[in-house]
Every structure is written in C-alpha cells, then in structure tokens.
C-alpha cells in the first residue's frame, strides 16, 4: 500500500517525536530504578521498630479467627548469633518475631539448659552428651557460631532464656515434654507460665493422663502428621473433647485431603501451625524456595495456616507485613 508522500512526511515527524520522547522517558526510568533500593530499605526499617506487648502476643495466639499470622523462629536467630543462645533470642525480639523455638535438655545434675543436639560437639567447644556434664562444667564452655568458630557466648540455662523472653516474646519449649515437671518449676519461678507453648505427638487420652495437671496452666499443642493413618481420628478426638490452642500439622504432600479442614479447625477455635522449615513439613512450600520467590508463602495463607515456624524470620516478616498479616 502506497501512502501519500505528504502523509509519509507527517508520519516521519511524528515518529521522530515519539523516538525523542521515548529516549527521555527511558533515561528517567534509569534514575527511578537507581533510587528504588533505598526507598525499600526505609520501609522495612520503620516497620521493624513497632513494639508489641506480650499480652497482645498471647491474645493473638488464643484468637484463632483473626488474620494475623504468628511467626516462630526455629532455634532463635541462628544466622546472626549462635543457635539457642541468649543473643539469638534477643535478635528475635528486636526483629518483631512472635515466638522463639528453643530446645531444652537436662544435665547430669538435673539442671535444664538450652541445647539442640544430644551432644555438645557441634555447637560448643566441648565434647560429649549433655547428660554427662554438670551445669557448672557446661558453663565453662562457649558456643560456636554458624561456621563452627568459637564465640564468647555461654550455653544458657532454661531460666536465663525465660528471663530474657519474659514479657517480650512467646517461647516454644521443644524436647520438654518428658522433662516438663522441671520445666514447669522454672517457668513458675520466672513468672513466664503464660508465655510458654509445649507440643506433643500423643493422643488426647495419653496427654490428659501424663500432662493433665498442666493443661490449664500452659499452652499445649498436639502434633499430627497428616500422613499418619490415624491422623483424622486423633484430630476429631481433640476437636470433640478438648479443643487446643493450636494443632501443629506435618504435611508431606500438599494434596492431602485433611488440609481442606483447616478453615473449619480455625472456626472451632484452634490455630493451625505448619513449619516452613523444610519441604517434608509443607508439601514443598519451604523457606529455601521462599528465598528465591517469597510468594511461596501464599500457600500458607491460602490454606488458613496462621502459625508458621521458619528458618527465615526476616523474609517471612517482610512478606507478612507487606500483605498486612503482621504488625
């Protein structure tokens, strides 16, 4: 199709103007891009400084119907301080994490300390099993950082950890079920009973028998693996007789039918806790994938999960705050 020469000329002028404009537009875009990272940083920093009271944290935990998601940091902020150390707890408080998960073990002389492994080999400059060491001798050791270098930080006792957390952050005591009599005494002494969460893999009857006297003083959460053939029966027994503050579910595949009941469970008064730690907890919607793309966490929200235990508290908090799901 041949167009009129005059029209062609006009087209050319129009085109050149367009090119000029797009040229200027592109260079201004470049500037915008360069400014962006700073702005993002400011937003994150101001969001992190909002303090939340322990009473708010407790009532949020008790309320299974609100949209706020509770962030639980696995072994404290182990990236920036030794795992299960007092500074690792303090970092969580500063970040605005709601709950810190720590591991309790008993020493040779019946004292309670915070240590993940059965032995102290990986995380301290000593060797051997926790239960073969007295508290005094453990206190002569120091913790190692994440690449195995010794620090100046000591192994904390449960008492020290609870005093650090008192009034500031909820505490999940892992590995404490079998030694809870002693844990209870320490929590009572430090005045932190209302901040403590205990979990167990047992059915309601066994829990009532073994743990019954504590059920009204501390938060207890049943743990259920959705691949367990008895999963639905265990769940129903709790829902019919004693609705807990929350259930922790392990979800090896994200196609398991029981996931569809999470909304009903929340309506009945229990929160739903799922770990984002590694793939077998959450059908592959795990923290390491969220590092590359944080919309991986959408799956938790879409499936009515309102407590998430993570190894990436900073990334999860950023995600939740952007979506108005966390203070």
């Amino acid at each position: 199709m041949e167009s009129h020469p005059l029209l062609k000329k006009r087209e050319m002028i129009r085109y050149s103007i367009m090119v000029l404009f797009s040229f200027f537009y592109l260079s201004s875009c470049n500037e915008k891009l360069e400014q962006n990272p700073n702005k993002k940083k400011e937003l994150v920093e101001t969001a992190e400084t909002t303090p939340v009271s322990i009473n708010q944290l407790i009532s949020n935990l008790e309320d299974s119907s609100n949209k706020d998601v509770i962030v639980v940091a696995h072994r404290g902020d182990w990236r920036n301080a030794p795992e299960n150390s007092l500074p690792a707890i303090q970092n969580c408080i500063d970040m605005g994490v709601d709950m810190v998960e720590i591991d309790v073990r008993e020493t040779k002389d019946g004292q309670l300390v915070i240590m993940h492994d059965e032995t102290i080999d990986r995380t301290t400059n000593g060797k051997g099993r926790v239960k073969d060491w007295t508290l005094d001798s453990l206190k002569t050791l120091v913790l190692r950082d994440g690449i195995g270098h010794v620090t100046t930080i000591k192994i904390p006792t449960l008492e020290e950890a609870l005093l650090k957390s008192k009034g500031k952050i909820l505490v999940n005591l892992d590995k404490s079920y079998d030694i809870f009599d002693q844990c209870f005494e320490v929590a009572k002494k430090t005045g932190t009973l209302n901040q403590i969460v205990i979990k167990g893999k047992k059915e309601l009857e066994a829990v009532q028998k073994e743990f019954g006297k504590y059920l009204d003083s501390v938060f207890f959460m049943p743990m259920i693996n959705l691949n367990d053939s008895e999963a639905e029966n265990i769940l129903n027994a709790y829902l019919n007789k004693k609705i807990p503050v929350a259930f922790e579910f392990t979800i090896p595949q994200d196609t398991i039918g029981l996931i569809k009941r999470f909304s009903e469970i929340r309506q009945k008064g229990a929160s739903v806790w799922v770990n984002s730690l590694w793939p077998e907890h959450n059908g592959g919607h795990d923290d390491e994938k969220a590092v590359i793309d944080n919309t991986v966490y959408d799956w938790f929200i879409e499936n009515h999960i309102d407590i998430i235990q993570t190894d990436r508290p900073k990334i999860l908090l950023d995600y939740l705050r952007k979506n108005n799901l966390h203070q």
Binding site: K8, K9, Y15, P87, G146, I147, E288
Partner: protein, 310 residues
C-alpha cells in the same frame, strides 16, 4: 522534500545518540570487578574494601554459589573462598579437609570424585541439610563472579596454584582472583617460576613471620604485590608497625576482623559488644584499606554511613 530530509537527519542523530548511550552502559564503562581491582591497586582514604569470609554464610551455606551471589547483591568487593582438589583433579569449594561438617556426606574431599561430591547437599549454619545447594566447582564460582566481584582464593597456597590458574584462564578471570600465602617470595618463585608474574598474589604477614621487614622488602623487590594481608595479635607486634609503612608505599593493607589474635581484639564480635567504631572503625584509623568479616551486611552499612564505600 526539505522537511523529509531534515527528519531523516534528526532520526539519524537520535539513532547515533541511542547507540552511544547503549555503549556507555555496557562496553565502554568499566565492570564492577575492574573498579574493585582499581581500588586494590590504588588504595585511598576514601574507600575501604569489604571482604566476606566464605561468602555470606549467614544467608546461605558457607562456600556455596548462593552465598557468593548474596555478596554480589550486597555490594561486597571481595569474597574469600576455600578451594580443594577432588580425587579426580577438580577444584571444588570446601573449607574443611572432610565434607562432614558442611554436607550430608562423610569423608575426605580428596577421596571423592567430582561426580560423587556433586551428589551431596550443603548444610545450613544450624546443621540442617535441606538447602538443596551443591558443592560448587571453582569454575562455576568464577563464571558467577565474572565482571561482578573479586575472589580471594584460600587453601591453594603452595599446592594448587597451577590448577587454579588453569580454571582462571579457561573462564577469562585471571585479573579477578587474588592468590595468597605465607611462604617467602624465594620459595614461591622457586616453586612456580614465571607463573607468579601472571597472577595477583597477596603475601600474608602472620604472627610467626620471621623478620617481617625483610619478608616485605623481598616481596616488594621481586613481585611488587599490590596488597598484603596483615595480622597482628597485639599493637606491639612488628606486623602492626609495618602497616603505616605499607600505607606510605601505596600498597593495600587487608585486615582480618574474624578473631582476636588477628586484629588485637578489634573483631566483628567487638562491634556487637562495643560498637563498630571500636572494631572496624579502629582498623580503618590504623591503616586498613580492606576488612575481612563474617558480617558483610553490617560492615557495608557502617562503611557507607562513614562515606567509605559506594
């Protein structure tokens, strides 16, 4: 017709200017790695190099590609990595002699073939093995780092310099890697000959360096190194006194803020306890042109706040 001609010229000019703009964005401007090398060659009071120990291991497993990518994203200048040889002669990243601490496998690196070691997965800093990150080869690292960041090679000294140089040549990154070692210039020249003139070599002054003055003089005469790694257990140490001398000669001084005996206590940990001015700030005041750290994100924040980094 006249207007048509004018439009053509206008378009031509726009075309040329776009082309120039595109060129200045890519080809003509120096790469980030080249700018870092300039800082290393010409130390100034206005810039301090941030060197990350084993990559940003707080973010991803130590000595992993993800840990190095994180350093690139943060704006780190140099990332220090550890390189070891597999049974079948490939250079891979691993700090310890064995894979026990950092992977889900067991045994010496030198007993694994590359294929076998690639089947392992790196653990994160709390010992959990779900990172999905593999043990990287030096070649993969140099390709990732190319044009973006400089690499400081540890554990190659006196052993695998030749093998490492082969990888650098293959990936065209010879001017992006810094070798280092504690041996005398005489020893290194005897062992590697002319290869020493082709690589960037950073001699290390450690606590038990015999006659540090002579060590430095010999290196300066034979190899003219652009940088020294200087450690000092106390402020009385002879190594510490040499820092101002190196400063005057315009040679880069790298300090290692990892633990007490390397920097007379002015460590990353002191930063946490007493503030950055007492640790990193003190080192800069006393002549550091670069600082190796386990806290790259915080070091960069501090240096930028002080106008010592871009």
């Amino acid at each position: 017709m006249k207007t048509y001609f004018k439009t053509c010229i206008l378009l031509f000019i726009i075309g040329i200017s776009n082309l120039l703009q595109a060129q200045s964005n890519s080809g003509l401007e120096k790469s980030r790695a080249n700018i870092i090398l300039d800082h290393l060659k010409h130390p100034s009071k206005n810039y301090v190099l941030a060197v990350s120990h084993r990559g940003n291991w707080r973010y991803a497993p130590e000595n992993s590609l993800q840990a190095i990518q994180s350093c690139i994203d943060l704006g780190v200048d140099i990332v220090e990595i550890d390189v070891r040889l597999t049974k079948d002669g490939h250079l891979v990243l691993m700090h310890d002699k064995t894979v026990d601490r950092t992977t889900n496998g067991k045994g010496k690196v030198s007993d694994f073939t590359l294929e076998e070691i690639k089947k392992l997965r790196l653990k994160n800093a709390c010992g959990v093995q779900y990172s999905m990150q593999q043990v990287p080869t030096l070649e993969e690292v140099m390709l990732l780092a190319k044009d973006k960041i400089m690499i400081n090679l540890d554990k190659v000294e006196g052993e695998t310099v030749r093998e490492a140089y082969g990888v650098l040549q293959k990936t065209a990154t010879v001017d992006q890697a810094i070798f280092k070692g504690r041996d005398s210039v005489e020893f290194m020249k005897n062992k590697y000959g002319k290869l020493m003139d082709s690589i960037i070599y950073m001699p290390i002054l450690i606590d038990n360096t015999k006659n540090p003055e002579k060590y430095v003089d010999d290196y300066n005469k034979e190899l003219s190194p652009i940088a020294y790694e200087v450690t000092f257990p106390t402020e009385d140490s002879n190594n510490f006194k040499l820092i101002s001398k190196l400063n005057k000669m315009g040679i880069t001084v790298l300090n290692i803020a990892l633990w007490d005996a390397l920097v007379a206590g002015h460590t990353d940990e002191m930063k946490l306890l007493n503030g950055a001015d007492t640790s990193w700030g003190w080192l800069v005041q006393h002549g550091a042109n670069g600082i190796m750290t386990d806290r790259p994100e915080e070091l960069l924040d501090y240096l930028r706040e002080k106008g010592l980094h871009n």
